[in-house]
Structure formats: structure tokens, C-alpha cells
């Protein structure tokens, strides 16, 4: 369990994380979504005690990171696949980490095996591809067999097979009762991996909940094709729905279900050739949710320039 309470980080005049209060529960994969620069990495660094919060707190199982007895045995983190010395071999990198937390050497070979890097364990990590670097980062996170795992953009640089492996791997870790917190800007990826989702924009919490609720609650649009487009459009507008004309025979209706559109067409005796609900993808939902924060960011810059 990770608990964030009013977690805030301010750099000079920029608010990177703004009063974040959320619980990240064990047993599920929690996706951490937000546009670039929305404060995801800063939040993760504060959870790991690397950056000091300006205000508020982040605790792991009720403890501040700094107070954990053996941090790697309670929290495993992949914050940056490149956060290692390129001149050191994968195995030595892990050996040093293991030594600091009194983790036996045989565990190093185990995690290398789990992520499939045993064959290149003696090679310099600097020569690893991004995907191999991610695997090494995941191996480091697993070293202490921790109950809480944090991954910042873990699928970056992975090939499709690697992505599928990571996805199943995370779900497996969560099903063992661990807390798995994964940040990403790839919504489609989170739709397949995460159970819960936390969406932030400009450091503020925008939405938190089950990923299924997020897409269901978002109203989709309905595509209608009809030879009597003009009549249908007038009728739909009278009913108070939003209509955009795509071409001379197709309309996109927003704010209505396909049943409602069908009933309006029937009531005004319009022939329909097609009636298709357009389900909102998580990507659409995300864009809709974060649109304000992105616009806000533009306005911020302008006012900054005026000062």
C-alpha cells in the first residue's frame, strides 16, 4: 500500500506535483497516467525519498521511505533504465545493490534468470539495448522480493514480445498480493495492464478509479448514415443533442446513446442506413480529461512571459 497525502513539489515558481492525495492498493496493477511533464516521475521520486516533498507526505505501508529497514526488500523500483553506470556489468550492478540490503548472491542469479539476462550478465550494461536495460531495471526491482513495486515507463524500448511479457509479469506480481504502480503515457497499454488508474495533469489529480469505469462513464458518440440527413439533423438538434455533419450522408451525434438516436429517427420518420455507437477508447477519455491541463499549461507560459 502506497499512501500519498497532499503530496506537493514546487520548483522555484513551477508546481510539479500539486496536493496529490491517493491510495495505491495492493493486489492490483495501478496505472499512473498523465501527459509528459505532468509530474509522474517527480511523484515516483518523492515516494522513493529521492526528492523531498515541498508539502505533504508519501508513505509505504505506513512508513516514510527513509525509515524502511531494508528498502529493497519492501520496495522495488525501476525509475530510469539508464540509471546505472555503463561500465559495470549487469551482474556487478545487481551484486552491489544486493550487498547494500544484505540480499544473498544467489538471488542475483535468480532475478537475472527471471528477466532473461543470464547469458549477458557479465557484459557491460552500457552496451545493452534500451529493452535489455529495462529488463535489468526490472531485475533490480525484484532483487529484494518486495511487496511494493514501482515502474516508471517500463515498456519504453521493449519489443512487442517484451511488452507482452511485462504485461503478464505485472499482472502476476499483483495477483500475488503485491502493490504494483506503473506509470505510462501509453493509454492503450494501460488499458490492457492496469486494473485501477490514476490520471494526473499538471501535477493535479484528475481522476482515480477502476479503468473499466473510466471508459464506461465517458459518453461516446453515435455515427448515423441516412439519405435524409437534413431532416435527421434538425430533429436531433430539436432533441438537444450535439450534431456534426461528416459528409452528405453521415452525421456524428454526441450526448446521445444509439437507442435515443434511433427513437428520434423513428419519431420523425427518417430512414436510417447505419446506426453505430462509437465507443470511447481510453485514449479518447484521457485526451478529454487532460485537455484542460494542457491548455492551462499554454496559458501559464504566456502569463509568465508578461511578468
Amino acid at each position: 500500500m502506497i499512501e500519498l497525502r497532499d503530496l506537493t513539489k514546487t520548483y522555484e515558481n513551477v508546481v510539479a506535483v500539486d496536493g496529490l492525495t491517493v491510495d495505491i492498493r495492493p493486489g492490483v496493477v495501478t496505472g499512473f497516467l498523465g501527459p509528459n511533464g505532468s509530474g509522474k516521475s517527480t511523484t515516483m521520486r518523492m515516494i522513493l525519498g529521492l526528492d523531498q516533498p515541498t508539502k505533504g507526505s508519501a508513505t509505504i505501508n505506513g512508513m516514510k521511505y527513509h525509515d524502511l529497514k531494508f528498502p529493497l526488500r519492501e520496495v522495488g523500483a525501476l525509475i530510469d533504465a539508464k540509471a546505472l553506470h555503463p561500465g559495470r556489468s549487469a551482474r556487478n550492478h545487481l551484486l552491489a545493490l544486493a550487498a547494500s540490503n544484505n540480499i544473498p548472491t544467489k538471488r542475483v542469479d535468480e532475478v537475472l534468470d527471471i528477466v532473461g539476462l543470464s547469458k549477458v550478465a557479465k557484459k557491460r550494461a552500457g552496451n545493452f539495448s534500451l529493452g535489455m536495460g529495462q529488463r535489468l531495471g526490472i531485475a533490480a526491482a525484484l532483487l529484494g522480493d518486495p511487496g511494493v513495486l514501482l515502474f516508471d515507463e517500463p515498456v519504453n524500448g521493449l519489443d512487442p514480445e517484451g511488452i507482452r511479457w511485462v504485461r503478464e509479469f505485472f499482472r502476476g506480481l499483483a495477483s500475488e498480493g503485491r502493490t504494483v504502480f506503473v506509470s505510462s503515457h501509453l493509454m492503450s497499454e494501460m488499458a490492457l495492464t492496469a486494473d485501477d488508474v490514476i490520471v494526473i495533469g499538471r501535477g493535479k489529480l484528475i481522476r482515480q478509479g477502476k479503468i473499466s469505469d473510466l471508459t464506461e462513464n465517458a459518453l461516446g458518440t453515435v455515427l448515423v448514415r441516412s439519405p435524409q440527413v437534413a431532416d435527421l439533423e434538425a430533429a436531433l438538434r430539436r432533441a438537444g443533442y450535439g450534431v456534426t455533419t461528416d459528409n452528405e450522408s453521415t452525421l456524428t451525434v454526441s450526448g446521445a446513446t444509439s437507442e435515443q438516436v434511433g427513437e428520434v429517427a423513428h419519431a420523425s420518420s427518417v430512414v436510417l442506413h447505419e446506426l453505430t455507437p462509437q465507443r470511447a477508447s481510453l485514449e479518447d477519455v484521457f485526451m478529454e480529461l487532460t485537455a484542460d491541463s494542457v491548455e492551462y499549461s499554454g496559458a501559464q507560459h504566456q502569463s509568465g512571459a508578461e511578468q
Binding site: 529521492l50 526528492d51 528498502p71 539508464k82 553506470h85 552491489a96 540490503n101 533490480a140
Partner: protein, 264 residues
Amino acid sequence: MSTRITLPMSTKAEWIKFRSLRSSVYSIITLLVLTIGLGSLITYARTKHFGHDGDNALGWDPVTVSLTGFFFAEFVVGVVGAMIITGEYATSSIRTSLAAFPRRVEFVLSKAIVLIGVVFVMSEAMAFISFFLGQSLIKSAEPVTGLSTTIGATGVLHAVIFAGLSIVLLALIGFGLGLLLKRTAAAITVFVSFLLVAPILVAFLPSNWGDPITKWLPGTLARGMMSINRDPETFTPNVCGLVLLVYAIVVIAAGTYLFSKRDA
């Protein structure tokens, strides 16, 4: 079974990090070879030309002459000291390290222990090898007798041991600058400024201004620690060592303070 991370655990981790880098291993070996090699070469040349360039029996310090290579070591060891921390910032592996061991003061202490251990062994080996090699070269080449000395002569053993310690202290000053400044280039620039550039600038001052400054400079103090014919303008070897130790403690304390406040 201890209940939390102990100093031996974090020190072992730092030792693995140090020995698993080719750059640190090579820099130590190169340093050893060059210091001894250059020292021997210069010792031989100076002995051969004794009396030509102002070397005379009065100013001749056979210990300092045989340890001439230490000028080179003083510079390189500062870089080694700085790099054990600035290297972590440059590669951002500092984040991985601090996530594994978040107690920062103890983290600094573990690094300092490894640095002291490695540099101490290397610099004392360097001092004794340079000394014995140097004395035998002086003996074989000496144009007048009595130029060489023995380890048993008054103050000689002390001077040779202190020569090694001066290198350890300079490594610690480099480490402290690395903690303070985060960047390798910045740390090296400041280190070299005090070690090499400051004496040149001070040399331009009138001597009644310059001399009181010169004796406080780290290069002068390091030299003072290993000399047996004391320059009256400098401190005794023990005081030189003490002042240099205070410098190292001050720089590391300031660096540790900033390091523990700063976001990684």
C-alpha cells in the same frame, strides 16, 4: 540477523561498485606506475646533475627527491576522489544507489571508507617503493657520497608514511568537492585551482604577502608532510598533516550537508 542496513553492508556495496569499474582499477594502476616511474626518472636525473642546477648539499632532501612522482599523484588522486560521487551523478546511478540505501550521511561514510582504504594501500605502497627505489638510484648515481638516506635515519620513516597519508587526504578533499559540486568538471577545476593554480598566482605577490599564504595551500602542506629538511616558512610535518585533515573534514562536512538536503 541485523534489523536494518549496517555500515559493513553499505561499505561492501561501495567496494563492489569500486572494484567492478575498469576505469577505477585502471586509474589506480596507472597512477601507481606513473608515480613510481616518473619519480625514479627525475630522481636519477637530479642525482646525475647534482650541483649543476642549484642542487646543493644544503637544500637536498633525499626523501622529497625520491617522492617527486607524488606531484603527479596529488593531482590524479583528487580526480579519483571526486569521481566516486560525481560519476554517480553523471550516470544518474545515484538514484538507484540512494533508493537502495536512503540514509545519506552513512552512504557518504561508506564511500569515504572505501576511498580511504583503497588510496591508503596504494599510496603507502607507492611511497615505500618510490623511496627505496629512489635511494638505490641516488646511491648508484651519486657524484658525491652521502646524498642518499636510509629508512632508519631520523624522521625518514615518518616522512615516507606521511607522504602516503598526504595522498589519502587529498583524495578526501577531492571527494568532498565532488559532494559539494556534483559535476566532475567543476570538482576537478576547483581542486586543480587550489593545488596547482593558486601557488602560481601567489608567486606573483611580493614575498612578504605571498609566503604567509603559501604555507596554507594544500600543495605546500602535502609537500611539508613528507619533507625532512624543513623549509622555515612552512609548518612541521605534523601540523601540515593536521591542517590538511581539517581541510578535508570541512569540505566533506559541507558536501555531506548539501548532499543530504539535495534532491537526487
